[in-house]
Structure formats: structure tokens, C-alpha cells
């Protein structure tokens, strides 16, 4: 029996374990649980690998070596760091609101994890192919300012408060151009379903006709991820650590994990929306695409390359200021994203591109 999806793997495991003597609904429930566990483990493992990747890459950019000593080439360094954080105590400040203090980071992490449930990673590996998966992913993605603000406010620290304020303002400001840039993709592909969007890119990847939307989306994602140059909510020079100043131990690790999960999600969305997802152009020799799980492999390669771009940006740009960031967000990014929707509509109507020429099946 050929397993075609992650949920297929989970069902197979569940029926192998309980299929003989449990009612069908229980098998489905167990399959769901196994599915979630696999997803959790995979996303966590990827996040930790992503941190390692960033550390090594950043090290090279900085003329040093990055993590070296724990495991081969420092691969296990992040596990050691995680273990250290896990063993540390978390002390809420005396005046802190304990409920908000603990629930903020937890909800932030969970909301970031949930998104992985709707992201397709290869043909068939799409967890049921929701018709509105793109919308759902972005909606959950935009919960974050609320949770950050709750944790910042309940920390009862002036630096946390300022960081939380900045974070909320920044995320809301960049939510808008991101969503409008996504509309351009939707116009061109005619679907909210990420699987369909990838399928629509079989002839040409969307980055070429939607280059403006890609630029807006990447810049907006940088702001959403709160990475340099847009990491001012946790600008260490003036705000100590911004909204997570008061957090230590595992709660800090929650923030850290969620940040990298969101970076991973951002990279995945860029790959899915603009870079053809798990597909490769038709002129690529078929030997490169015909091995088992080729789709997932190419998808991961693309995702890590996109994240490498973010690391490169981090290594070479200074941080911008809040007012500059917001001005760019509202006064440049929003008009640009609207323009990109207009361009997408133009492509759909004319069925032609300036450089590539007229492609059969372009637009619908």
C-alpha cells in the first residue's frame, strides 16, 4: 500500500495499532493524534535545524564559524541550549499578571504551530487540501500581535510595554500590505487553496509576473517575523529584550521557538506562493525529480534557501526606527501592494507578460 500523504502515514499506524479491536471512530481519533504528533515533531525538528542553519550561516557572514562543539559541526548545540532553558526556573515579576504572563507565550507558540496543519508540502501531502487554506494560514498567523501584547502588558515592565506597543503597531501595519500582496497571487491563480496555487504555477512561477507582490510580501514577512532590520520590538540596544525582557527559561524558549516557527512559515509561504512550491521547471532533467519524496526534498531546499536570504539580510542591514518603519509600511508598502494587485489583474486580462511573452493558460 503506497502511502501518499502524512495523514495516510498516521492512518496506517493507527490501524496497525488498534485496527483489529477498536471501533472505527477511535482509530480515526488515534490517527489524528499520531498525525498531530508527527507534525509537531517534524516542525520542531525543522525549527531547531533552522536555528542551527542560521547560526552557521551567520557565522560565515561574520567571518567566524558558528556553533562547533556539540555534535558534528555543532548540530546538537541547540538541543543542549534547549535542555538548559528547560532546566531553568521562570520567575514572574512580583507585580505581573500571572495568567497573562504564562498564557501569552504559550498561545503564541501554539498559534504558530497550528499553521503547519494547513501547509501542503508536496503532491498529496496536503492534509486534506482545504479550499481556504491560504486564508486560514494568514488568519492564524496574524493572531500573534495579540499574544505578544498580552505577554508584554502582563510583564508589568516599561521596556516590555514599549516593545509590545511597537510590536503591535508594526505587525498590524505590515499585515495589510501582506494580505493585499496575497490578493495578487489569488487573482492570478484563482484560488485560495495553497495546493491549487502551486498547481497553477506548473508553466511559470509567480515570482516573475508578481515580482512587485513578492517584494512587498518578503519585506512584510521580515517585519512579521521581527527579524533585523525590523526587529525593533526587541531592539536590544534600547529596550533590553523588548516584550520578552521578563521571560526566562522555558517561556523564553517558547518565544524563541515561535519566532523561528514563524520564520519557517514565512519562508514556506514565499516558496508556495511565488517559487512554485515543490515543483521544478520542466527543463530540469527528470532524474532530479523522479526519486521518492522528491517534492518534499525540493520544497525543503527552496525553503531553506529563502530563509538563507533572510539570514543574509540580517547579517548586513542595521535596524530601522519605529516611525520610519511605520511610515514605510503605510505610505509605501500599501500603495505598492495595491499596484501589484492591479498588475496581476492586468496579466490575467491580457494573458501576456512583458518579458516572458504570452503563455497558454496564463490567467483564467
Amino acid at each position: 500500500m503506497a502511502v501518499q500523504s502524512l495523514y495516510g502515514v498516521a492512518s496506517l499506524l493507527a490501524s496497525a495499532l488498534f485496527g483489529a479491536f477498536a471501533p472505527a471512530w477511535l482509530v480515526v481519533l488515534v490517527a489524528d493524534a499520531i498525525f498531530g504528533a508527527i507534525l509537531l515533531a517534524a516542525s520542531m525538528l525543522n525549527t531547531i535545524l533552522l536555528i542551527w542553519y542560521e547560526r552557521k550561516l551567520l557565522g560565515r557572514f561574520m567571518d567566524r564559524r558558528g556553533a562547533m562543539h556539540v555534535g558534528y559541526a555543532g548540530l546538537l548545540q541547540n538541543f543542549a541550549d534547549g535542555l538548559k532553558l528547560f532546566r531553568k526556573n521562570t520567575y514572574p515579576p512580583r507585580e505581573a499578571d500571572v495568567l497573562g504572563f504564562y498564557s501569552g507565550p504559550t498561545a503564541y507558540l501554539v498559534s504558530s504551530l497550528v499553521i503547519f496543519g494547513v501547509l501542503p508540502i508536496s503532491t498529496g501531502w496536503d492534509n486534506g487540501s482545504l479550499p481556504l487554506s491560504l486564508l486560514l494560514a494568514l488568519v492564524i498567523f496574524s493572531f500573534a500581535p495579540l499574544f505578544i501584547f498580552v505577554s508584554a502588558w502582563s510583564s508589568n515592565n516599561k521596556y516590555s510595554l514599549m516593545g509590545g506597543m511597537r510590536s503591535a503597531a508594526q505587525m498590524i501595519a505590515y499585515e495589510v500590505p501582506i494580505l493585499i500582496a496575497v490578493v495578487a497571487v489569488i487573482v492570478l491563480s484563482g484560488s485560495f487553496d495553497l495546493t491549487t496555487i502551486v498547481a497553477e504555477q506548473r508553466n511559470y512561477w509567480f515570482w516573475a509576473p508578481l515580482f512587485l507582490a513578492l517584494v512587498v510580501f518578503v519585506a512584510g514577512m521580515l517585519a512579521e517575523m521581527e527579524r533585523i532590520p525590523f526587529d525593533l520590538p526587541e531592539a536590544e540596544a534600547e529596550l533590553v529584550e523588548g516584550w520578552n525582557t521578563e521571560y526566562g527559561g522555558m517561556l523564553f524558549a517558547f518565544f524563541m521557538l515561535a519566532d523561528y516557527l514563524r520564520a519557517l512559515i514565512g519562508s514556506i509561504l514565499i516558496v508556495l506562493l511565488f517559487l512554485g512550491g515543490w515543483t521544478l521547471p520542466s527543463y530540469v532533467p527528470s532524474a532530479l525529480t523522479n526519486f521518492p519524496l522528491a517534492g518534499i526534498v525540493w520544497f525543503m531546499v527552496k525553503t531553506y534557501l529563502v530563509f538563507g536570504l533572510f539570514v543574509w539580510v540580517r547579517a548586513s542591514l542595521p535596524r530601522v526606527r519605529t516611525d520610519q518603519l511605520l511610515r514605510v509600511g503605510w505610505m509605501r508598502m500599501v500603495p505598492l501592494s495595491l499596484l501589484s494587485v492591479f498588475l496581476a489583474a492586468l496579466v490575467v486580462v491580457s494573458r501576456c507578460l512583458p518579458v516572458i511573452g504570452c503563455v497558454p493558460g496564463m490567467g483564467r
Binding site: 525593533l232 548586513s316 542591514l317 542595521p318 530601522v320 519605529t322
Partner: protein
């Protein structure tokens, strides 16, 4: 957000040391600023009154931990004047060599810390890497990388080992290429210019009113440099220009420091050329032995010589990497100086903090104070 005071410090990533900047803010705008010093006070001036003249040199290294040898130079000039000692010319050249190398190391350290405050992570490590080359040279002839204890009343402790001048030349060539890289990373970045232009403005007349000196003064358009205006050691025999900028803002201070580093390289090349052609003693001959004896006099005549010396006053002022530093040494004839007093340029530059901070934003605090180049060790002494 309503108005509130926040304490940035004494433990805060912005401070680069141990001091407290209290700012009153409304939203992100700074309404008032108040520096609080004294967290790192070690009583160096008072301790000096109980030490032999050469023992004070170790304290000087710890006064400013990024420009130790410049402070040694400052003190040693005042002490020599108070003790009526004249160092040989070669020692003067070696002192200039060390001071300019220290200026380079200090400015590179400043560059690293400054860009780190702006969120630029890579240049921080580039700066530390390049500074290490200078520290390697220091280590080759002083034995120290941070605290050197190299100068002595009457000269320097030892001559340069063979090969040092070649190493200096090689490092200077390397650094000149790196400065181009530094400029590309900062001035070439639009974000950098947007962050640094027109913030932290302190005009020339305000600088004069508050006594602000060093790169901050030169960035305001005043070409004042003690190496030119009140030449000490052998600076009057060396060719260099005074770095200057007109914008009086953070970018101006950046430009001044980068220009100064290039001028330091120019000076160093002349100095090593001179040193190669002029071998000679590095220590004056008539220095009393007990000056160099830390706890007990060495040698028989140390016991025999009555420990007294012609009284004298010594004053010296040098262009330290952070600004104009001055030292005053009173010799009342005993083993120890009667009184030692220093002027710290950073202390004065920081006391004007309200003038160049109010009206800007909280996010501007790190670049502005980074451009001041705070070294708390010399502020509190």
C-alpha cells in the same frame, strides 16, 4: 502612553559600562535626560597618592580599558615634568607609536560597539577581528593586550623587538582596505543614513559651552586637535590632518572617527620609518632607581640614596581617542605624588547629554550615545 521616567542602566545594553541614564519619555519622544555617574568609581586619583610614580602606570591602564596606553602616555608626561626627567627621542617616538595604535584600536572598538547598537551584527565582528591584529602587535612588545604597563618615567620599559615595524606596516595596509569595507557597510546603507543623519545634534557653540571635546567637537566643524594645537611628544615632527565634519550629528562623528583612523595610519607609517632609521636608548639615564622599584629599592644605592627629589608640578594634556584628557601631578618631594588629578573627556561629553538627547526618540538613544564613545572607566576613575 503618558509621561514616564525610565532608568537605562546601570545594567542596560545601551550603557556600555556601568552608568545610569534616566530619561523622561512620552511615547517614544525624549523630554528630559539625566545622567547618573559613579557606579564604577574606584578612587584612582586617591590611590595614586599612595603609590610610587611608576606604580601609578598600572592604574592608568585601568582608567580607560579601551585606551590604556593613551592614559599611560598622559600620566607619564605629567609625571616626567614634575620629576624633571626628559625621555630620549626614540622613547618619544615609541610612545607616539603606541598612542596612535591605541587610537586605532579604540576607534575600531568604538566602531564595533556603535554598529552593534544600530543592529548591524557583522561589522561588530569585523571590527573585533581587526582590533585583534593591533593587540597582537601590542602583545609582541608590551606583553599585554588590554593593560600594558609599558611606559616608565624616563622612557619606555623595553625597545621594540625586531620585526615589529614590519608587522605594523603590514597591519596598516590591511586596515586601510578594511576602512573602505567599513564605509561601504555603513555609509553605503540607506538605513544607516536614515538612522544617523540629523540626530544627536550638538552645535559648535554648545560644544564650547559644555567643554565637549574630541570627535564630537570636530564633528561640529571645529578643527581642534591637541596634537596640532598644543603639540606634545613628537607630534610637531609628523604630518597629518585634523579630521573634521560639519554636520554636528551622529553621521558627522562617524565620519570624523573614520577619517581619524586613516590619519593615524598615516602617522604610524611615518613613525615606523623613523624608528627603523634611528636606533638608540629608550630610557633616560639619570632616572632615580627607586622610581622603578615597586616595594623595596633594588640595588645598594637604592638604600643609600635619600628618597627626595626636587619639587615640581607636572601638567600634560593629550588628544586621547575620546577627547582631550589632562593630568596634573604635584610632586612635593616624597616617594609618592602629593596629588594627582585627571580630566576625563567622556565625563564632560556625557554631562551635556541633555543638550543632545532631548527631542529625539528612544530608538535614537543607542546611536547617539554610541557616537559619544562612552568609556565609563575614565568617567568615574
Amino acid at each position: 502612553m503618558s509621561e514616564m521616567w525610565i532608568n537605562m542602566g546601570p545594567q542596560h545594553p545601551m550603557t556600555h559600562g556601568l552608568w545610569n541614564l534616566r530619561v523622561r519619555i512620552e511615547g517614544e519622544i525624549i523630554l528630559d535626560a539625566d545622567p547618573e555617574m559613579g557606579y564604577l568609581h574606584r578612587g584612582i586619583e586617591k590611590i595614586s597618592e599612595d603609590r610610587h610614580y611608576n606604580e601609578i602606570i598600572t592604574l592608568m591602564d585601568r582608567t580607560c580599558y579601551v585606551a590604556g596606553i593613551a592614559w599611560e602616555h598622559l600620566y607619564i608626561q605629567a609625571a616626567e615634568q614634575a620629576l624633571h626627567v626628559t625621555p630620549p627621542e626614540r622613547a618619544e617616538y615609541i610612545r607616539v607609536l603606541t598612542e596612535e595604535m591605541q587610537r586605532l584600536a579604540s576607534h575600531i572598538m568604538w566602531y564595533a560597539a556603535f554598529v552593534q547598537d544600530l543592529g548591524l551584527m557583522s561589522p561588530f565582528l569585523y571590527g573585533m577581528r581587526d582590533r585583534d591584529l593591533l593587540l597582537d602587535i601590542f602583545q609582541s612588545f608590551t606583553g599585554g593586550r588590554l593593560t600594558y604597563e609599558y611606559m616608565r618615567v624616563g622612557g619606555v620599559r623595553n625597545d621594540l623587538p625586531p620585526g615589529t615595524t614590519a608587522q605594523v606596516r603590514q597591519t596598516m595596509d590591511w586596515l586601510m582596505d578594511r576602512f573602505v569595507e567599513y564605509d561601504r557597510l555603513c555609509l553605503g546603507s540607506d538605513i544607516f543614513r536614515r538612522r544617523c543623519d540629523d540626530i544627536g545634534v550638538l552645535k559648535a557653540n554648545d560644544c564650547v559651552t559644555y567643554g565637549v571635546t574630541g570627535p564630537m567637537l570636530r564633528a561640529a566643524g571645529v578643527a581642534r586637535d591637541l596634537r596640532k594645537d598644543r603639540p606634545y611628544a613628537v607630534y610637531d615632527q609628523l604630518e597629518f590632518d585634523v579630521a573634521r565634519a560639519d554636520s554636528a550629528d551622529v553621521t558627522g562623528r562617524y565620519l570624523v572617527r573614520l577619517q581619524e583612523m586613516r590619519q593615524s595610519v598615516r602617522i604610524l607609517r611615518q613613525v615606523v620609518d623613523w624608528l627603523d632609521g634611528h636606533p638608540g636608548p629608550v630610557m633616560a639615564e639619570h632616572v632615580p632607581r627607586w622610581l622603578g622599584a615597586p616595594y623595596a629599592p633594588i640595588g645598594r644605592e637604592g638604600y643609600l640614596v635619600k628618597r627626595s627629589y626636587p619639587k615640581g608640578l607636572g601638567f600634560s594634556a593629550i588628544e586621547e581617542p575620546h577627547g582631550e584628557a589632562a593630568a596634573y601631578v604635584v610632586n612635593e618631594g616624597g616617594e609618592h605624588p602629593y596629588r594627582v588629578k585627571f580630566r576625563s573627556p567622556v565625563f564632560v561629553n556625557l554631562s551635556a547629554v541633555k543638550k543632545y538627547l532631548v527631542g529625539y526618540r528612544v530608538a535614537d538613544i543607542p546611536p547617539i550615545l554610541g557616537s559619544v564613545d562612552v568609556c565609563v572607566g575614565e568617567v568615574d576613575r
